[in-house]
Amino acid sequence: MIANTVEVDPSDRVDPLDRTVEELVAQRPKTLSEIDTHYCPGCMHGVAHRLVAEVIDELNIRERTIGVAPVGCSVFAYNYFECDFAVAAHGRAPAMATGLKRVMPDKVIFTYQGDGDLASIGSAEILHAAARGENITVVFVNNAVYGMTGGQMAPTTLVGMKTTSSPYGRDLKMSGAPLKMSELIAQIDGVAFVSRRSLHSPAEIRKAKKAIRRAFEMQLNGQGFSMVELLSSCPTNWDMKPVEALRWIETRMVPVFPLGDFKNSVPKNSVRGV
């Protein structure tokens, strides 16, 4: 978001008296396409997209990055990123990414997955990509529901939370407790980096971006599997205003899904990509 190297905009106005110059400090990253997203107003998928695009810009890897979109609201991600993209079958993005990475080890491969996609139908694929230490990066957007299909319970739905498929609230006896994927994945040997961050405030978003950058750097360093889980909102299916939804992340989700790095390998040599 905040460009590391200050970019001087052609439209900059220099005020000779104040001896100041106007710099463009925030704009759409180049790796984000100009197309408007179909995401609902206030849906943090948009922020997650932008952060990934900014990291790709900063690491200057757009031309050798291939993304894998999931099935979920972000199935359209291929449309929104200005880099090569594939759309995987529901849950299988890590397998597809494995196929891509194994034949092109010098390319940067990332998946972008929702919680239904990654933690439910695709749980075997994420587990084994991690176990193989697959040198890919996973951006995991946890919004506690299945967004695209209309707000059903996800493995990450909070206990007591009402969804269209848990109309009485998620019941511990019937459906168990939320799955904490970051904690689980971090257990696995081949994993280089796992971090859970939240998108509920500008400060947290800045931290999330750092984590995403670190995850991509891990891959560039050949250090193995890296994943960033992002707590995100689904105002539509939560039936909340966007602002309210972010507060809900902070007050309700963060206590269940604590933020932090769950695995953070020592960097190898320097980043190859920059």
Binding site: H38, C40, P41, C73, M148, T236
Partner: protein, 190 residues
């Protein structure tokens, strides 16, 4: 006799509910009826529409290419369905929100300032009922009382005060359409 009606508008304008209400009323009147929505990942915020077919015989296709009636709640709907309407079909549109100039000559166009009238009555959400009233008047496919009864039977009973307002909105729709057809002289038969 078969009536094909398409209800269309933005999500949140009560498009699907209006269609369902007509379907309930037709069912309660002992007629055959089908209601079918468009569905999709972009439902929210985007366009919502549904097709209702009312008939005194068994209904084959629940979909129609050229409806005999269109209830258009917004501009994009007018644009789209003007072209698809059956020859001599009736296009009832919410003229409070629509500005699209209609070019087809042989169709009957009934502009109803439904949003404004709803706001007058006291709730912008009643727009769909004003439109429904107009449809009833233009089509005569069901008696006014059938819709009233359907409202009573199928509307959430949590807010009974709304019922009266809804009926009022329906009534105003009928009146506005009456005024229209008075102006037009003969009613086009669909």
């Amino acid at each position: 006799m078969q009536h094909d009606v398409i209800f269309c508008g933005f999500g949140g304008q009560g498009t699907l509910f209006a269609g369902q209400l007509l379907a309930y009323a037709a069912m309660d009147a002992g007629l055959h009826v089908t209601w079918i929505p468009s569905y999709g990942p972009e439902m929210r915020g985007g366009t919502a529409h549904c097709t209702v077919i009312v008939s005194d015989e068994e209904i084959g296709s629940p979909l129609v290419r050229a409806p005999s009636y269109v209830l258009a709640f917004n501009n994009p709907s007018v644009e789209k369905y003007e072209l698809l309407l059956a020859p001599n079909g009736v296009l009832i549109h919410n003229s409070s929100l629509t500005s699209h100039a209609i070019t087809r000559a042989e169709i009957r166009v009934v502009p109803i300032p439904a949003s404004d009238v709803a706001a007058e009555i006291g709730n912008a959400k009643l727009m769909n009922m004003v439109m429904m009233g107009a449809l009833l008047q233009c089509s005569q496919m069901l008696p006014f009382e059938a819709i009233e009864r359907a409202l009573e039977a199928h509307m959430s009973t949590r807010r009974p005060e709304l019922l009266a307002l809804n009926k009022r909105a329906l009534q105003r729709g009928v009146e506005l359409a009456q005024a229209q057809s008075a102006g037009l002289g003969v009613e086009a038969s669909a």
